[in-house]
Symmetry: D2
Subunit: 399 residues, 4 copies
C-alpha cells in the first residue's frame, strides 16, 4: 500500500495556506500544471517524491472562520483563482477545513492577538499546556488519517522578535521554563517543540524563531527530527540573491540598496505593527553583506496599502560605483502575487522534507537553503550556489 503523509499547516486559513490547500486540490485533480513547483523540475525527477494524492491536509488556526470563505475572500482581493476552479475543489476545501483545529498563542504581540478568537490567547496558561494541546491535535490527525508521517509547516504571521538572550541554551534548562507563564519562548517555538515531541518534521516558513535556538535544535537532534527554516524566499529577496552576486563578480561597488515593498494582505496588516515589522526587515536585509563582502547602506520599507491585496510590489534602487568611480543605477520592480509565490514552495518543502525524513535524515536540512531568506546553518546567499546544494543532495540520494 502507498505511503500517506500529512501536511500540517500553522495559520491554516491564511492567504498562503488557502493557496496551498487549493493548489494541492487542483494538482490532485489534474486541473493545473507544475508551474512554480521547484520539486517538479526535471533535475529532481529521480527522487521518488510523494505523489499529490498521497497528501492529507490539516492544521491550526487562531482566527474563527471557514476555509471556503477565506479562499473566496482571497480570490476577490487577488483576482487570481477562477470561479470555475473554486467550484471544482470545494469538496477538498471543506474536507481540509474539517481538519483545522484552534491554534495557540503565547507572547504573540498585540497585532496578532487582536486577530485571534477570544478563547485562544491567554498568556496566563503555561506553555506546557499549550504544547500538550498541539501534541494531542497532531496525534489525532495522524491516527484518524492513518498517516505514515506528518510534516508541520509554520505559515503564521510574523511574530515580534523574540528575546533570544533570555532563552536558555540547553534543553535541560529550557524545559522547566515551559511550566512558567514567564517562559521566554514565542508561539512558534511552542509549535516546534510540539512537533518534535510528536515525531513530526518541521519547516519554518516565517521569520519567527520556531526551532532556531540551541535548546530546541538539541531537542530535535535527540529526537532525530528533520527541520529547516527560516522565512520563505519568495520575491524581492529571491531576486536580490540572484542579482547581488552580479555586482560582486564584476567588482562594482554597491553604495546603497533601497527596497520599498507595498502590499495589502493580512500579513502586511500584521507587519504594519513596528515590532512585527522589525523581525521581517532583519531577515530581508541580512544577505547583502554576505554576498558583497561589505555592508552598503541599505534601507527596506514595508507598507500596508489596502488596495494592493495579495499583490506585493517591490521597488528596488541600487546605486553603484563603476570604473573611475562612476556612479550608476539599476532599478527593478517586482509585481508578484505573494501567496501564489509562497504556496508552491510550501508544497516543495513538504515533499523534500518528507523525502529526507523517509531517508532517515535529521537535524537542520541545510541543503534547503535556496528556499529561505535566512537559511539555518548556511551563510551562502548566492542563489545559484544554494541551488547547487539542493541538486547535490538529490544527486547523493539517487546514487
Amino acid at each position: 500500500m502507498s505511503r500517506r503523509v500529512g501536511l500540517w499547516l500553522i495559520g491554516a486559513r491564511g492567504g498562503v495556506a488557502s493557496v496551498v490547500i487549493s493548489g494541492l486540490a487542483a494538482l490532485q485533480r489534474g486541473l493545473t500544471d507544475n508551474c512554480g513547483l521547484v520539486s517538479c523540475l526535471l533535475t529532481f525527477s529521480g527522487l521518488e517524491l510523494l505523489d499529490w494524492p498521497d497528501v492529507a491536509i490539516g492544521g491550526h488556526e487562531i482566527r474563527p472562520g471557514c476555509l471556503v470563505d477565506e479562499v473566496r475572500q482571497f480570490q476577490r482581493s487577488s483576482r487570481t483563482l477562477s470561479d470555475q476552479l473554486l467550484e471544482q475543489i470545494e469538496p477538498e476545501l471543506r474536507q481540509a477545513d474539517a481538519a483545522i483545529r484552534p491554534g495557540i498563542l503565547f507572547r504573540a504581540g498585540d497585532a496578532i492577538t487582536r486577530l485571534a478568537a477570544p478563547d485562544i490567547a491567554g498568556d496566563d496558561r503555561p506553555p506546557v499546556e499549550k504544547i500538550a494541546q498541539v501534541v494531542s491535535d497532531l496525534r489525532e490527525f495522524r491516527e484518524s488519517g492513518q498517516l505514515d508521517h506528518v510534516v508541520m509547516i509554520n505559515l503564521a504571521s510574523t511574530e515580534p522578535e523574540a528575546d533570544v538572550g533570555a532563552i536558555p541554551d540547553t534543553w535541560a534548562e529550557l524545559e522547566p521554563t515551559l511550566h512558567q507563564t514567564d517562559c521566554p519562548l514565542p508561539t512558534s517555538s511552542l509549535y516546534a517543540i510540539a512537533a518534535i515531541q510528536s515525531g513530526c518534521s518541521l519547516v519554518n516558513f516565517t521569520p519567527s524563531l520556531a526551532s532556531d535556538c540551541a535548546a530546541i535544535r538539541e531537542l530535535a537532534k535527540a529526537n532525530t527530527i528533520a527541520h529547516a527554516g527560516r522565512d520563505g524566499k519568495t520575491g524581492e529577496t529571491l531576486i536580490k540573491s540572484a542579482l547581488a552576486p552580479a555586482f560582486a563578480m564584476r567588482n562594482l561597488q554597491v553604495m546603497s540598496w533601497v527596497g520599498h515593498n507595498i502590499f495589502g494582505n493580512m500579513d502586511a496588516q500584521v507587519l504594519d505593527d513596528p515590532e512585527n515589522k522589525q523581525a521581517k526587515v532583519a531577515t530581508k536585509d541580512g544577505l547583502l553583506g554576505e554576498i558583497l563582502g561589505y555592508d552598503p547602506q541599505s534601507h527596506i520599507s514595508i507598507e500596508y496599502i489596502r488596495s494592493m491585496g495579495d499583490w506585493k510590489t517591490a521597488w528596488d534602487h541600487i546605486h553603484f560605483r563603476g570604473f573611475l568611480g562612476t556612479p550608476m543605477v539599476m532599478q527593478f520592480t517586482w509585481q508578484g502575487c505573494d501567496s501564489m509565490l509562497a504556496a508552491p514552495l510550501v508544497l516543495d518543502l513538504f515533499r523534500l522534507t518528507e523525502r529526507a525524513a523517509r531517508a532517515g535524515q535529521s537535524g537542520v536540512l541545510d541543503w534547503l537553503a535556496c528556499f529561505f531568506k535566512s537559511p539555518m546553518d548556511v551563510s551562502e546567499n548566492n542563489l545559484t550556489h544554494q541551488f547547487s546544494l539542493l541538486q547535490q543532495w538529490a544527486g547523493d540520494l539517487q546514487r
Copy 2:
C-alpha cells in the same frame, strides 16, 4: 627586468578605447581605485597578473582625429571624467595617440565605411594586402617598445553579420581567397589573421566574427595563439545572465522577455543601421533559451537617442507564469555608462589573456566565458557558473 606587454586596440579612438587608455593612465598614476576591475578581486590576487606600469598602448583606428579631442568629447557627452583627471593624464593620452595607426576596412558595410578617412576603405585591394599592413604595424609596435608580448583586443563598431556559410572550413581553403577581392571574410577576421600570424593573443570584445570560424580557429591552434570572444557582457545582458537563472530555478515560466535599449554614442549610431543591429541583437538574445530550457517570446530593440550619449538605458519587462498559471511581472531599468562598464573588462581580459599566454596556454580561452555575451565554446550562460570557470582556472594556475 620586468616583463612589458602591449595592448593593441582596434578602434583605438572610440569611446571604449578612450576610457581604456584614460583609465590605464589613471591606474598607472594611482589616481583611481580598482572599482569595476574583475581581475583585481581578492580571489585572483595570487595570479601574478601584469602590473599597470608594465602595459604599453597602441592600436588601429579608421577615423581621422586626435585622442585627446576624443576623450574631451566623451567627457562632455558622458559627464563622467573630471577636468582635473584629464589634465593629469594628458601626457599618456598624447603618447598613446602617437602609437595609433590607420586601420583597415573590408566588407564593413555603409554605416562604418561612412565614418572612415577617405584613404582607408577600398574593397578593391585584396585582404592579403590589408593583413600585411596590420602585421607590419604590430611588428613595429613590438620592436619599438621592446615588448615581450602583445594582446590585440577588437573594440571596433559592430559589423554587419558575415555570411559564414560562404567561408571555407579549413585554412588551406581559406588562405587562397585572401588574394581575391571577393573574399567572404569581414574586417574583424582580417585583423584576427594578422594578430595570429604576428604571434599576438586576440580578444574579440564585439559581436563581429573575428576568429570565430573553423578555418581561423585552426590557424590559431597551429600558431599556438590564445584567443577569446565574443561581445563584452557589460550591462543588460550581464543582468539577464544573473536573473534568468532565478526564474529557471523556481520553475517560473517566462512567457515573454522584452528589452528596450536606448543610447546615443557612436556605437548606437552604427547600430542604427539595420544590418549592423541584427548582428548585435543576435548575441544579446541567445542566452535565454539556454538558461531556461525553452524559448520564451523575446524582443530586443536598440535605438539611437542622441541625448543619451554614452549612458545606455535598458528597460526590461519579464512576464512570467507562477503557480496555478498566475501571470506576474518583473521589470528593471539599467542606467549605465557603457564605456565605463566596458573599459575595465577590456583591461581584465588583457591581463588574464596575457597570463594565459605567459603560462603557455593557447586555443579558445573558454574559461573567460563570464566576460562575453556569446562565449566561444561555452553553452553555459548562468553568470555564477561562468564565474566558477574563471575561479577554477585561477585555482589550477596557482596550484
Copy 3:
C-alpha cells in the same frame, strides 16, 4: 415616450466592442458603478444625457464568430471580467450579436484582410456598392429598433495610412471615384460616407482616415451631421498630454522622449504589420511638438507580445535639461487593460455626440478634443485645456 438611440459599432466583435457591449449591459442591469466614465462626472450631471436603458446596440464585423465567444476569449486573455458577470449579461450579448452584420473592406491592407471572412474582401467591387450595403444595414437597424437616432463609432483595427494626396478636395470630385475600383478612399471613409448619408452621427475612435478629409467634411456639413475623431486617447498618450505641459511650464527642455509599448491583443497583431503601425505612431507622436513649442527627438515603438493580451504596458523615458544645462530623467510605466480604458470613452462619446445631435449641432465636434490623440480641428494638446473645452460646451448647453 422616452427617446431611444442606437450605438452602431464598426469592429463589433473586437476587444473594445466586446467590453462596450458587456459594460453597457452591466450598467443597464446596475451591476457596476460609473468608474471610468467621463460623462458621469458631476460636472456633466445637468446635461440630460441619454440613460443606459435607452441605448440599442448593433454593428459591423468582418470576422466570422460569435460575440459570447469573443467576450469569453477576452476574459481569458485579460483576466478581467468575472464569470459571474458574464453569466448575468449573456442575454444582452446574444441580443447584440443578433444585430451584428458582415462588414465591408476596401484597400484595407494585408494584415486586416487576412482576418476577414472570405466573402468580405473584394477590392474588385466599387465602393459605391459597399456603401450601399452599409446604408441598408443602418436603415434596417434604425427601423427595426424604432430608433430616434443612430451614432456610428469606428472601432476597427488601424488601417494602413491612406494616400491623402490622391483624394479630391471636394465632394463633387470625390463622388464619381466611388464608382471606380481605384477609388483612393480607405474602408473607414466608406463607412463614414454611409453614416452621413444615413443621417447618423459619426465618431472615429481609430487613427484611420474616416471623415477627416475635405470632401467628406463638406458632405457632413451639407447633411448637418455631427462628427468627431481621431484615435481614442486611452493610455500612454493621455499621460503624455498631462505630463508634457509640466515640462513646458517649467521651461525644462525635453531632449528626447522615448515610448515603448507592448501588448498582445488583435490590435497589436494588426499593428505588427509595418504599414499599419506607421499610421498609429503618427497620431501618438504629434502632440509633443505642439505642447513644447519645439520638436525633441522622439521615438515610439509598438511591439506585439502575445502573453500580454489586452494589458498594454508602456515604458516612457523622458530625458530633459534643467538649470545650468543639467540633464535629468523621468520614466514612467503604464499598465492598463486597453479595452477597459477605451470602452467607457466609447460610451461617453456616444452620449455626448448624441446630446450634441439632439441639440442640433453639426460639423466637427471640436470640444471633444480631450478624447482623441489627434483631435480634428484642435491644435491644443494640453489635457486640462482640452477638458475645459468640454466643460465650456456643457456649460453653454445648460445655460
Copy 4:
C-alpha cells in the same frame, strides 16, 4: 540710472542657495542659457522683469564655513557644475560670501540646532532681540549696496511643525510674546517679521510657517508688503499636480498613491529627524484630495541615502480602478538634481515678486501658486490652472 535690487537668502550657504548664487553669476556672465527659468518663458517677455546684472546677493546662514567650499562640496557630490564654470565665477562667489551674516535660531529643533555654529542657538534670548539683529543686517545690506528694494527668500532646512494653535490671531496679541522666551513662533516667522518690518518682500520656499499665520499676514498687510509661499514645488509634487488631474478628468478612481523619495543632501539629513519629516510630508500629501475630490490611501516616505547626494529619486506607484472595477497601475520614477530644480524657481520668484512690489502690489501673491506645494490662499492644485493664474497676472500687468 537702473534699478538695483537685493536678493537676501535665508540658508545662504546651503545647496539651493549655492546653486542660486552660482547660477546667477553664470547668467550675469552669459555663461548659460535660460533653461529651467519660468520667468524667461516667452509668455512673460513683456513684463520688464529685472535684468540679472541688477541683482545683488546677501543672506543669513547658521553654519560656519565658506561659500566657495560649499559650492565645491556640492559639485563633488552632485557631479553637475563644471570645474571650468566654478573657476570663472569664483569672484562672484567670494563677493556673495562677504555679504552673508550669521543667522538666527529659535525653537528650531535638534536636527537643525546641531548644524549651527555654537554662538547662534540660544532660546534664552527673546525673539525681539533676534528680529532686531536681522533688521539691522537687512538695513546694512540695503544701504551699503544702495539697493532700491530687497526680497528675502527663505531656503533654510525644514523646521519641526509649529504649534499654530498657540499663536495669537492678531498682531496686537502676538507682538508682546516676542519679548518672552516662550514665544510660540518658529525661526522662520522671526525672519518674516524682520523682513516685513524692514520693508522687504518675502518668499517662503520651505514648508516652515514663516508668514503663514493670521497675525503676521495682518502685519504684512499693514506694512503693504508682498509675500508668498509655501514650499517650492520642484519634483515629485510638481509631477503629481500635473498627473493627478488626468485621473480625475477620466473618472479613474485612485485607490492608493504611494511615493518613496530617496536622497542624500543636508536637507535629507535634517528630514531624517521624524519631527522635521512630518512637516514636509504634510505639504507633499495635501494636494491629492483637492484634485481628486476624495482621499485615496496615500503614503509618502522620505529616506536619507547618503550616496544619492543632491540627486533626489522618487518612485511613485498609483493604483487605480477603471471601467467595471478593473484595477490598473501607473508607476513613475523621477531622477532630478534637487538644487538644480529649486534654484531657477528661486530666481523666478525673486523677479516676479520684485515686479509685483514695483507695481505696488502687496499681501499674499496668490498668483504664484504654481511654484508652491501648499500655495497660500489657493486651493487649486491642477498645475495648468495654477499656471493660468500666473499668465493672467502677467497679462493684466502688461495691459
